[in-house]
């Protein structure tokens, strides 16, 4: 008689069944903003190189950033850098073993999101208010 072939043990579900927690969500957002800022850093390097290269390349860069797609991207990057910075503060606090306990860890996590949205909004409202326009 042929012995029955045992299939490998199944893996219990993880993200498919785990109820999202705020801290886990913000951890993902922290990582996502970090990767976005990596790309943003390359963009900044390109912008600086264009500026150093002369008026022509700079004008191309200015037109890209000033296009219909440029403004939302710039606003998104402003928020991303602020969010990543506030998330960084949260992690520095947790690394000091502070605010691990309920409800402080939740307050702290919410505070980073509120602070980043608030600061990014204030930045752009103030910028438009004072008549500045993105290049």
């Amino acid at each position: 008689m042929k012995k029955k072939q045992r299939s490998p043990r199944p893996l219990a579900p993880d993200l498919q069944t785990y109820r999202p927690t705020l801290t886990m969500t913000m951890s993902i957002v922290h990582r996502a903003t970090g990767i976005a800022l990596y790309i943003g850093f390359i963009g900044m390097a390109a912008w600086l190189a264009a500026l150093a290269a002369g008026p022509r390349p700079y004008e191309v860069m200015r037109q890209v950033l000033g296009s219909w797609a440029g403004l939302p991207i710039l606003i998104a990057f402003t928020w991303a850098i602020l969010h990543h910075a506030f998330g960084g503060i949260r992690h520095l606090i947790w690394d000091l073993s502070i605010a691990h306990t309920y409800p402080w860890r939740e307050y702290l996590t919410r505070a980073t999101l509120v602070a980043s949205l608030l600061c990014a909004s204030l930045f752009w409202i103030a910028l438009f208010w004072t008549g500045g326009r993105p290049s």
């Binding site: 893996l11 993880d14 993200l15 498919q16 069944t17 785990y18 947790w94 691990h100």
Partner: protein, 264 residues
């Protein structure tokens, strides 16, 4: 939001969960409570599936474990799960209930809305139904050498510790090794073969700060690793899901601080 992903999103074929049997309610008079429970029989042809059970709430204890025992006794004797103390001290009945890892014996059914969905501890290999393969977890626990280490001959009397030194261990010695935290840690999901996970690291910290222990430096050496320790990204799922109210993330942060301190 129930979860980030649909039930079988990106899941390997052998782990896909099919719709299972719907077991009708039997001899019920009181309000009905529905439970959807993960089933897997290694000897059967079909893979994992989700069975639906209905029980009489008035004729059942308040905890999820009471419902599991009732189902096993009265509806389906093949339902398999670990349990022992039924009061939150043995750590056997940890499982994913309503989207978080907890002990079935201390999870009140009233605290969950709608059908109670029960899966094995997240991202663990399943032996049968809700029973997971714990061997790697306990091998990792063994790796940190969870016992008091002192040199020299056995003393005549007990090894002394001041009340203050003893108080240092509070919040770190009470772990019952249910591995709810480890099963809830995304970092452990992606790198559990090398990352020790919150439960084992909490225990490692408990031995690191025991005033009687003489192996602190060697213990730190064993943790000085990008994967064993530093896969912790302070996601905090561990601390949230500890049924004993412990804070593994804090213990890990303190281990990192100890490692930094010995370099400066």
């Amino acid at each position: 939001m129930k979860s980030f992903l649909p039930l079988n999103w990106g899941v390997e074929a052998a782990s896909r969960i099919a719709r299972g049997r719907i077991w009708p309610a039997k001899n019920t008079t009181g309000p009905i409570r529905t439970l959807e429970i993960y089933r897997y029989d290694p000897d059967a042809e079909n893979g994992p599936h989700l069975d639906t059970y209905s029980i009489d709430q008035d004729d059942c204890g308040p905890m999820v474990l009471d419902a599991l025992v009732k189902i096993k006794n009265e509806i389906d004797p093949t339902l398999t799960f670990r349990r022992s103390c039924r009061e939150g001290v043995c750590g056997s009945c940890s499982m994913n209930i309503g989207g978080r890892n907890w002990l079935a014996c201390t999870q009140a059914m009233d605290d969950i809305d709608g059908p109670i969905r029960i899966f094995p501890l997240s991202h663990m290999r399943v032996v049968k139904d809700l029973v997971i393969d714990q061997s790697h977890l306990f091998d990792q626990h063994k790796l940190i050498q969870p016992w008091l280490q002192m040199e020299g001959p056995e003393p005549e009397r007990e090894r002394l510790q001041s009340p203050e030194e003893r108080a240092e261990l509070d919040g770190f010695y009470e772990c019952i090794l249910c591995f709810s935290c480890t099963g809830g840690c995304p970092s452990y999901w992606w790198n559990g073969d090398r990352y020790l996970g919150p439960a084992v690291l909490l225990n490692a910290y408990r031995w690191l700060i025991d005033s009687r222990d003489e192996a602190t430096g060697k213990r730190l050496d064993d943790l000085e690793d990008p994967f064993r320790l530093y896969r912790c990204h302070t996601i905090m799922n561990c601390t949230k899901t500890c049924p004993k109210g412990l804070e593994p993330a804090k213990a890990i942060a303190k281990i990192k601080a100890m490692l930094v301190a010995r370099q400066q």
